[in-house]
Amino acid sequence: MKKVILKDSKYEIKKGRVVSVRQMTDMEKLFEIALPGNRSLDHEPGQFVEMSLFGVGEAPISVSSSPTKRGSFEMCVRKVGKFTNALHNLKAGDEIGVRGPFGKGFPVKLLEGNDLLFVAGGLGIVPLRSLINFVIDNRRDFGKVNILLGCKTPDDMLFGDEVENWQKRIDVSFNCTVDRSDPDWKGNVGLITSLIPGVTLAPNRTFAVVVGPPIMYKFVIGELLTKKIPSRQILVSLERHMKCGLGKCGHCQIQNYYCCQDGPVFSYDKIKNIKEAI
C-alpha cells in the first residue's frame, strides 16, 4: 500500500486559533476563532463549519456571527458530548482545526426588501444570530424585523446583552418567552408558538426564519401557515449530524437531500412533502 500526501483534500483542516472564550450559561460557551492572517471565513449566515481537535474528533458547529464581523468568527457550543467537552476546555490562544464553511445558508439576497420574522427556540438562536446581526448591520436593506425568542428558563437565555440591544432598538420588534419563569422574570411564559398570534405582519412580504429543536418546527410552522405566510417564505435550518460535510457519508441524508450540501437551510416549500425532514 502506497501512501502519499495530498495537497487538495477536502478533509484537510485550516488551523484556527481561539481568540476568546466566554461562558454564556452553565452549559454554553461562546468561542471566537481567528483563521491565519485574520482572514475572514467568508461564510453566509446559517452555514456551518466542521471544527476539529486532533485526538478527539470533529463536529459540525453553526457559525453564530454575521459575515459582517470581519477577522474572526464566533460559535456558541453546548457541552453535550466528548467533542464539545474537549472544546469547552479550550482557552484563548489554543489552536483548533477548521473545515468549511459548508452548506447553504440563509438566502440573504432573496430576503432583501422583505419583512422578516425570526423565530428562535433554544439553541436555534445560535445559527439565527448570524442572520439577525447581518440584517441589523444592513438594516436599511430589509423591511420590518420581528424577533421571537423562546428559552426553557430565563437562565438559559443566550447572548443576553445583544438581546437587550435588540429590545432597545426602534427598528426591531422583539418578544421573548420562557417555558418556566423565575420570580424575576417579567416577560411572557409559555411555548414559542404562543407569541406568534400576537405578531402583526403582512404575510405577502414577510419571510419567516425558523430555527429550533426538531420538535418545534411542526408547531411553529402550523402557526405561521395560520398567519397566511406562504410556505416558500418560511425558511428553516434543519438539525442533522453532518460528519463529512461533503454530501457523501450519509449521516445527514433526508431523502434526496444531503443536509450538509443542500441545507441546512431549506424553504419549507421544498421539504414540506419530504418525510423524515421535520
Partner: protein, 345 residues
C-alpha cells in the same frame, strides 16, 4: 486488438503472468459456496467459472473498510497531513453486477465535491470482468436492474464461449495486459458467432426476476413510503448491518480518530458505517430521525431504488443478491419488492 481469445487452459498462466507485474485480486472459494476476492500470485485457486457473488464486493478495494484521511502531530499545535492510500492492482473476475456497483460508486464519488481519495485509488485499479452465463443462485435479480449483460465499466471483459474465453479489450490498460502477458490471440468470425450464441442462450435463461419494469421502480417506491411492508421488516430486522456491509453500492461512512500511545501523533480515518444502526441518524439533542428499524430498512431500500435512482438515473441496487444472502433475519430483497408490488397492484 479489440477482441481477443484466451484458451481456458491458459487462464492460470495468464493470472500468474499478470501477478508478476502487479498485484492481482481474484475470486477464491472459501468453502460452503462462499467466495472472496483475495490477492493471488498464481491462477491455481482462482475461480474463473460460475461463482456466487463474493461475500464482500470489490468495493473493498475502491473504498477500503478503513482508510486514513489525515495524519496528525500535536508536538507544535494542530499539524496534519492529508493522505491517500492506494495500490496499483488488477481485479480479475468481476461480475456484471459488481461492475455496475463500481460504476455507481464512481458516480457518487465523482460528484462535486469530488472525493479525491476515492478517485486516485480508482485510477490505479484495472478491472477484468467476467460474464455470468447462468444465474449464480436464486437470490440474484440482475435482469430486473439491467445488469445481467455488460454495460462497460471494465478494462477487459471475459465471456465463456466453450473451450475459450472471448475477451473484449476496452481500454489502453487492457491492451497493455494483452501485450505483456502474451497468452491471447485475435478473435475471428467464428468466435464472434459463439459469443452471439452465448448471449442468445442468456436471453432464455435470464428473465425479469420481479414483475416490474426497471423504469417503474422509483414510482413504486414513491407510493410505498407508508407501506405495511416496512412494519413487517421492523419486526424482523435485527440491525446487524450485514446488508449494508456487503452491498456494492453502500458507501456511508463514519469519521474517527486514533491517537497512538504517545497521544501526540495519530490518524483520522473513515470507516464503513451503516444506516441500519440506530445512532446513524441521531442528532446532538438525542433525537433520531429514523428511530424504528422499519424506517431504517425503508431508508436502505429507498436509497437503492428511489433516492439514488432520481439523482443518478440508475438504481443503486445491482441485483447481486448479497443483502438477501447475508441477512440474519432472512429479509429477502425480491420478496420485499414483490410485497410492495402486490400492495400497489
Amino acid at each position: 486488438m479489440q477482441y481477443a481469445i484466451i484458451n481456458k487452459d491458459k487462464v492460470d498462466d495468464f493470472i500468474t503472468r499478470l501477478a508478476v507485474q502487479e498485484k492481482v485480486y481474484a475470486p477464491v472459494a472459501r468453502g460452503y459456496d462462499n467466495y472472496s476476492f483475495e490477492e493471488v500470485t498464481s491462477g491455481k485457486n482462482v475461480v474463473s467459472g460460475r461463482y456466487i457473488p463474493t461475500i464482500l464486493p470489490p468495493k473493498k478495494y475502491f473504498m477500503p473498510q478503513r482508510e486514513t484521511l489525515l495524519e496528525y502531530n500535536l508536538t507544535e499545535g494542530q499539524n496534519m497531513n492529508a493522505v491517500v492510500e492506494y495500490e496499483k492492482m488488477a481485479i480479475f473476475g468481476v461480475h456484471t453486477c459488481d461492475l455496475a456497483g463500481i460504476q455507481a460508486m464512481n458516480m457518487v464519488f465523482s460528484e462535486k465535491p469530488a472525493d479525491i481519495n476515492y478517485l486516485i485509488r480508482k485510477n490505479k485499479i484495472t478491472i477484468i470482468g467476467l460474464e455470468c452465463i447462468e444465474y449464480c443462485d436464486q437470490n440474484a435479480s440482475c435482469t430486473l436492474v439491467h445488469n445481467h449483460l455488460p454495460n462497460g465499466g471494465y478494462d477487459m471483459f471475459f465471456t465463456d464461449i466453450g473451450d475459450s474465453f472471448f475477451v473484449h479489450v476496452a481500454t489502453q490498460a487492457g491492451e497493455e495486459i494483452i501485450e505483456k502477458t502474451k497468452v491471447f490471440y485475435d478473435a475471428d468470425a467464428p468466435h464472434m458467432r459463439l459469443l452471439e450464441q452465448v448471449r442468445e442462450r442468456k436471453k432464455k435463461i435470464f428473465h425479469d426476476e420481479v414483475p416490474i419494469e426497471y423504469h417503474e421502480l422509483p414510482e413504486l417506491f414513491q407510493k410505498s413510503f407508508d407501506s405495511k411492508v416496512w412494519d413487517n421488516l421492523d419486526s424482523r430486522c435485527i440491525a446487524c448491518g450485514n446488508c449494508t456491509a456487503v452491498c456494492p453500492t453502500c458507501y456511508c461512512f463514519d469519521v474517527k480518530e486514533e491517537p497512538d500511545l504517545s497521544l501526540v501523533q495519530g490518524k483520522r480515518y473513515r470507516i464503513w458505517d451503516s444506516c441500519q444502526s440506530e445512532p446513524f441518524a441521531k442528532v446532538s439533542g438525542g433525537e433520531s430521525f429514523r428511530k424504528m428499524q422499519g424506517a431504517r430498512q425503508r431508508h436502505r431500500y429507498f436509497r437503492k431504488f428511489k433516492y439514488q435512482f432520481d439523482k443518478y438515473s440508475r438504481p443503486h441496487c445491482t441485483g447481486c443478491g448479497r443483502c438477501t444472502r447475508a441477512c440474519m433475519a432472512k429479509i429477502n430483497l425480491k420478496e420485499t419488492l414483490n410485497a410492495l408490488i402486490a400492495e400497489h397492484a
